[in-house]
């Protein structure tokens, strides 16, 4: 996994353990729980977009499926939350497989539109209240707790704190696993697909298989995030799962830097916190998202953090600022 990543993980754990003791207001802890939930989804998407070089504008569909299946099974079928979460995960993987096998033969704009279409179909179905299951436009509530109230000898004081440790614990586990994966043979294979699929194929890499596996992995992580959403909110309705959610997820990945798993978490944290901070001005939320997407894509295709760091280094060393950083030109080459 590399020394840098191990150090990074250790630092992240330390920061995460410290935060609850530094934050006075439990509301902020709630915001961090959201960061964790979206980070789960964004890590998978980052793998699919940044490493594999594909695009999905339909991950809101997987998020919604996770949330709705968890919600329906626990409230209407009386299943307990964890088995329901497992069923939601399995269901999502099946759907992702059925959609992914034909969809991943498409590229670029066609893939984007196909996934967007898939996401909207899930939204329309949830909105239409099939068999009275989804509650239609108004949704349904009463989704039970995911875990009993535990206090770990008085260390944990509130429900938000329980959620915080649970969600971030899971994020950390998956982050470690995925970091390990991208620094292995599999990760190199994925990057070679991004670099140029024909070349990857010529090297004997089964690109179709890698693409579908990455898609399944990201759908599974997004399903988990969706299930957590349902249990954390206790309530689901269609509006939060519209195509805007897919675009938000992609924006978070893009802002953090697609080609870096750490970027997915950093981007998610940055945008979720900014959104919460400026909730009072959410009238300009759409404008804000639009500006960010265009600016990042025009100026820092590698993401805000890496791109800005490179610029700074360029300015400091008085060389010509890196107009198109190395990563970006590699991506352009892969397009042809």
């Amino acid at each position: 996994m590399g020394k840098k990543n191990l150090l990074g993980l250790a630092a992240l754990v330390a920061v995460l353990l410290l935060i609850p003791h530094l934050l006075g207001n439990p509301y902020y802890l709630g915001v961090l729980v959201w960061c964790g939930i979206y980070s789960l989804a964004c890590m998978g998407l980052s793998l699919f977009m940044g490493y594999c070089g594909q695009i999905s504008l339909g991950h809101a569909g997987f998020f919604a499926l996770g949330a709705y299946i968890s919600g329906i099974l626990t409230t209407k079928a009386g299943l307990s939350p964890w088995p329901a979460l497992g069923v939601a995960l399995l269901g999502n993987l099946l759907v992702a497989f059925a959609v992914g096998v034909p969809a991943l033969r498409l590229r670029g704009h066609y893939l984007a539109m196909a996934t967007l279409g898939f996401g909207v179909i899930i939204y329309v179905v949830a909105d239409g209240n099939p068999f009275g299951l989804t509650g239609g436009p108004s949704g349904f509530g009463g989704i039970p707790r995911l875990f009993p109230k535990f206090s770990l000898f008085g260390l944990i004081r509130s429900d938000d704190e329980r959620w915080y440790y649970l969600v971030w614990g899971i994020v950390l586990v998956f982050l470690a696993l995925l970091l390990n994966m991208v620094h292995s043979r599999v990760g190199r294979a994925l990057r070679s697909i991004h670099g140029g699929e024909p070349a990857a194929k010529a090297m004997g890499i089964n690109s179709a298989r890698y693409k579908i596996e990455t898609f399944l992995l990201s759908a599974g992580l997004t399903s988990l995030a969706g299930s957590f959403y349902a249990h954390y909110m206790g309530f689901v309705n269609p509006p939060p799962f519209g195509p805007m959610l897919s675009i938000h997820l992609v924006t978070m990945v893009v802002v953090g830097g697609m080609t870096n798993l750490w970027g997915a978490i950093a981007g998610t944290a940055l945008l979720t916190i900014l959104r919460e901070r400026f909730r009072a001005f959410h009238e300009i939320g759409l404008l804000f998202d639009g500006f960010i997407l265009i600016l990042i894509m025009l100026l820092f295709e590698e993401g805000l953090f890496v791109g800005a760091a490179k610029r700074l280094r360029g300015v400091v060393s008085r060389r010509r600022p890196a107009g198109l950083p190395g990563g970006a030109s590699r991506q352009t080459a892969g397009e042809g």
Binding site: I55, Y110, A114, V124, F235, L245, R279, L286
Partner: protein, 324 residues
């Protein structure tokens, strides 16, 4: 429960066009079938015009402009405001012009600087443009839906037991005029021929002295204008609000793919098929079929993308060569 209220209150993605939903059970007589056909052709004409806009930009740039639906929305919005100040005959060209200017500004600010960027970047940029235009419209006009008066009499006409609004004729007429003008433009004018040359091969067009930069700007202007026109004529029937564009874009794209991306005839046929299917789909004999009607176009989109991405009129060999 602050978060719950915020999420409840903010409708990210309203589904438009519920007004033509028809509830089952319903007798299938000649007049009801005719009624469905008319409703389908009406909304299908709009999808056709959106699809034409997609095609024009796609042909000159190879980009799918996700902001295409926002041009429709802006056309409707400008028209609503302008129609309060001046007669229709004056308001229509000014509204179209305003959207054309917006389209050109979008191309100059975001598309041209991004030439040579990766496909993912281009997709994100046009999505960003769509969000900007939506957000801008929300700031200017707010979140309400606005009506627009019909262009001529609001009295419906009875034909074979089916009622037709006069606006339907306006819509079909405008589609026909747009088609004829576009065909003439691409066939007879120098600019039109230059744009076709760009579509065939940008590098070769550039070598023979065509300014590709100007053609790309022009294609955005043209498709913004067509989108605006679609928005202007459909608003009296469906109302307009800041968020209605994305659904038009999705269904217009479905129409474009159905007919074969880049093929003008395909766009029109695809649009009409999607429109008709939506209206007949809403009448399918199961409970609440009409609430799923927005999904039908998308299911068709997926089926075609998966089974025959080149569309009805496209040839697989040609679409293999295209860059996405």
């Amino acid at each position: 429960m602050d978060a719950v209220c915020a999420l409840r209150g903010r409708d990210y993605f309203p589904l438009p066009g519920r007004d033509i939903a028809i509830e089952w059970p319903m007798e299938l007589s000649l007049s009801t079938i005719l009624q469905y056909i008319i409703a389908g052709v009406k909304i299908g004409s709009i999808y056709a015009m959106v699809a034409l806009g997609f095609n024009i930009i796609y042909n000159t740039t190879g980009i799918i402009n996700f902001a295409q639906g926002e041009f429709v929305m802006l056309g409707g919005m400008f028209m609503v405001t302008l129609s309060k100040l001046m007669p229709l005959g004056l308001a229509v060209p000014i509204a179209v012009l305003a959207v054309v200017i917006v389209g050109c500004m979008f191309e100059r600010a975001a598309i041209w600087p991004a030439r040579g960027a990766s496909v993912i970047a281009l997709i994100m940029i046009t999505i960003g443009g769509a969000l900007l235009l939506q957000g801008g419209a929300m700031l200017v006009w707010g979140k309400n839906s606005f009506p627009l008066r019909h262009f001529s009499s609001e009295e419906p006409i009875l034909i074979l037991g089916a009622t037709i609004q006069a606006q339907t004729f306006w819509i079909i007429g405008v589609l026909a005029i747009v088609m004829v003008l576009l065909a003439a433009f691409f066939k007879f004018t120098m600019t039109g021929k230059a744009m076709r040359a760009c579509a065939a091969n940008r590098a070769a067009a550039s070598l023979s002295g065509i300014s590709v930069e100007r053609m790309i700007l022009f294609s955005f202007a043209l498709s913004a204008g067509i989108g605006a026109m679609a928005g202007i004529i459909i608003t009296p029937v469906t109302l307009v609000d800041y968020s209605c564009g994305s659904m038009y874009a999705l269904k217009g794209f479905a129409a474009a793919v159905l007919g074969g991306l880049g093929i003008p005839t395909g766009a029109v046929v695809g649009g009409l098929i999607i429109g008709l299917m939506e209206c007949f789909g809403a009448a399918l004999p199961f409970q609440g079929a009409s609430s799923y009607k927005d999904g039908f176009a998308l299911v068709v989109l997926l089926v075609f993308l998966f089974a025959k991405p080149s569309g009805i009129f496209g040839r697989a060999a040609i679409s293999e060569l295209k860059k996405f």
